[in-house]
Amino acid sequence: MENFELKIRKQAARSNMACGTRVFPVVHCQFRSARHVALVLLGSLIPCAATFSDEAGDRDEVQPPLAGRPAEFSGAIGSHFDVQMRAAPVRLQAEDPLLLTVIITGTGDLQAIRRPNLRRLHRFAEQFHIDNLEERRVPAKNACEFDYRLRPRAAAVREIPPLPFVFFNPKILPHEKGYQTTLAKAIPLTVQPREKVSPGRVEGKTPMLEAPDSVYQLVEGSMVLRRESPFGLPGPLELGALLLGPPMLGGFWYIVWRQRNPDAVSQARKRRSRAAQHALKALHRLDKLDALAQAHQAEAVMASYLRQRLDLLTAEPTPTEVARHLEQSGSSPALAQEGARFFAECDAARFAPGLMARADNWTETATRLVLALEEESWPS
């Protein structure tokens, strides 16, 4: 039992040496023999003692288990590792570079140690721009060194934060509890804001702008002093008045026009008759013809109008047929007679031009007749 105690004490002393900076002990409580029970009991009195196996000895060839392996595991296997950092310069401006060297010393296989990835460490990544530089193995010192170029992102950076280093200690049982973390001490920094570059330091070195001619022109005169007011829509009342004004003005105009032109109103209503519209348009086109042609064409237009408007069946009606049809349709006798007279005069002009009583404007007569017929109140 004394031998065991001595061994445990030796291992504890060795372990404390390994904890050169800080070591997080792993408590192991698995009893495999009476001797082991004693070992654990004793371990409760001696810090770290119970974490070591009395069987594992100094065997470093144990492979680190996947179970419990931290993401930051460096690949280092051994019972003792020490991590230190060295930085220069420690007084600098924001964004200026500094050289950081991470030195790892230990008893295990140094070749297996991977470069600590500072970019994955939040406190490093948020405060520094990080470039990886060279790495060195120094067998004489049993150490490996990793260089980094760090650039503080802002003047608020106060230190290079502590660097955690995770290694595997094969002497700790069970092995999944063998991962230990040691920290390199933080390095205080003095970071100052960057100096502002004054225009005077760079003026004159850059060539003159080759600007287009329009840039070398000024607008001269008092118009440059003008004060343009920003655009604004009129208020709701003004806007309403402006929007309602034109239709109200138009309505007023229409009322006045109706009062002053009652005939025109009536004519306009009559013109809404489709047959009358066609007839009036056709008659309007006859103005340039001579009297004979006008008589012939006006008679045809009127016959067409009577066919469309009053269902006259005859293609070329005689004056008597016209008068009779108008009367049958409900026209006043006077208007019927006027219609018959128009057709009679047209016939006279066509077939006996020498006997033409008067050189009437046939178009005008026909137009009056159409309007008179449209004004007539026809039975429905």
Partner: protein, 261 residues
């Protein structure tokens, strides 16, 4: 900014606007005469720009002032302020071809490194050869064509003449177009008031994901002076901006010029 304020402070407060304008024109002529010697010409152009800035602060507000001020800033190699002045002028007169030409030239001077076209802007949405109407003119023409439309329709109702109907339809069509254009312009003006122009005033300003230096840059490519953006939010000394391509991020207020009233 220091030389600018110094130059303004050296100007007597009692100088009348017209006298200040005359000084600016004289200094500009002097600067143009020595344009081949940048070390002599640039301070002169800077003073010209200061004169125009003083006039602006006294209330002058028109496209001609901003065109002249932009030219002076551009020749003084102050690219961000030149762009800001041109943009102020274009806000008053979006159809000014000289302002557009000079702004386009100024934009070509903005360094835009990297593969990403951060902050690259589109050109004028309306062809410059089209006649441009100010908002006042558009409103006036709207009421003219609107009235014409009503008169045409009412005349058609009186006489049933096709020509009157055509005049009415044409009047209402033009009025509708002008009303649409006016609405669009007013909406655009409102957007510009809600999201004022921001011009990056320093080189290599990272566009960060948050309002602090501890936030990482959104892209590796930083923004250079002269890049234009629109203000989205303000939080302390930080501004969230949106670039022309829709990219958003945060920049310190000290690194930008803000077109705030």
């Amino acid at each position: 900014m220091g030389p600018l304020l110094l130059a303004i402070s050296l100007l007597p407060k009692t100088v009348a606007d017209a006298e200040l304008l005359r000084q600016a024109e004289t200094l500009f002529s002097a600067g143009t005469a020595v344009r081949d010697k940048p070390d002599k010409a640039r301070p002169l152009f800077q003073r010209v720009a200061s004169c125009y800035e003083e006039l602006r602060q006294r209330g002058a507000h028109n496209p001609e002032l901003y065109r002249s001020q932009g030219n002076a800033y551009l020749l003084a190699a102050d690219l961000p302020r030149a762009i800001l002045a041109y943009q102020r002028g274009l806000r008053l007169d979006p159809g000014d071809p000289s302002l557009w030409a000079n702004l386009t030239y100024a934009r070509t001077q903005v360094a835009r490194p990297g593969p990403r076209d951060l902050g690259r802007l589109t050109e004028a949405s309306v062809p410059l050869w089209l006649p441009h109407l100010s908002l006042h003119q558009r409103l006036l023409f709207f009421f003219c064509t609107y009235s014409l439309g009503w008169l045409g329709i009412i005349r058609w109702w009186m006489l049933r003449r096709t020509a009157a109907l055509a005049v009415g339809v044409l009047g209402f069509s033009l009025a509708t177009l002008l009303a649409g254009s006016l609405t669009l312009a007013l909406w655009s003006e409102r957007q510009q008031s809600l999201h004022p122009l921001v011009v990056i005033a320093q080189d290599r300003v990272p566009l960060r994901k948050g309002n602090g230096v501890l936030y990482p840059p959104r892209w590796e490519t930083p923004l250079n002076s002269g890049v234009e953006a629109r203000l989205q939010f303000e939080r302390g000394d930080w501004l969230q901006i949106e670039l022309a391509g829709g990219q958003t991020g945060w920049v310190p207020r000290a690194a930008v010029l803000l077109d705030a009233p």
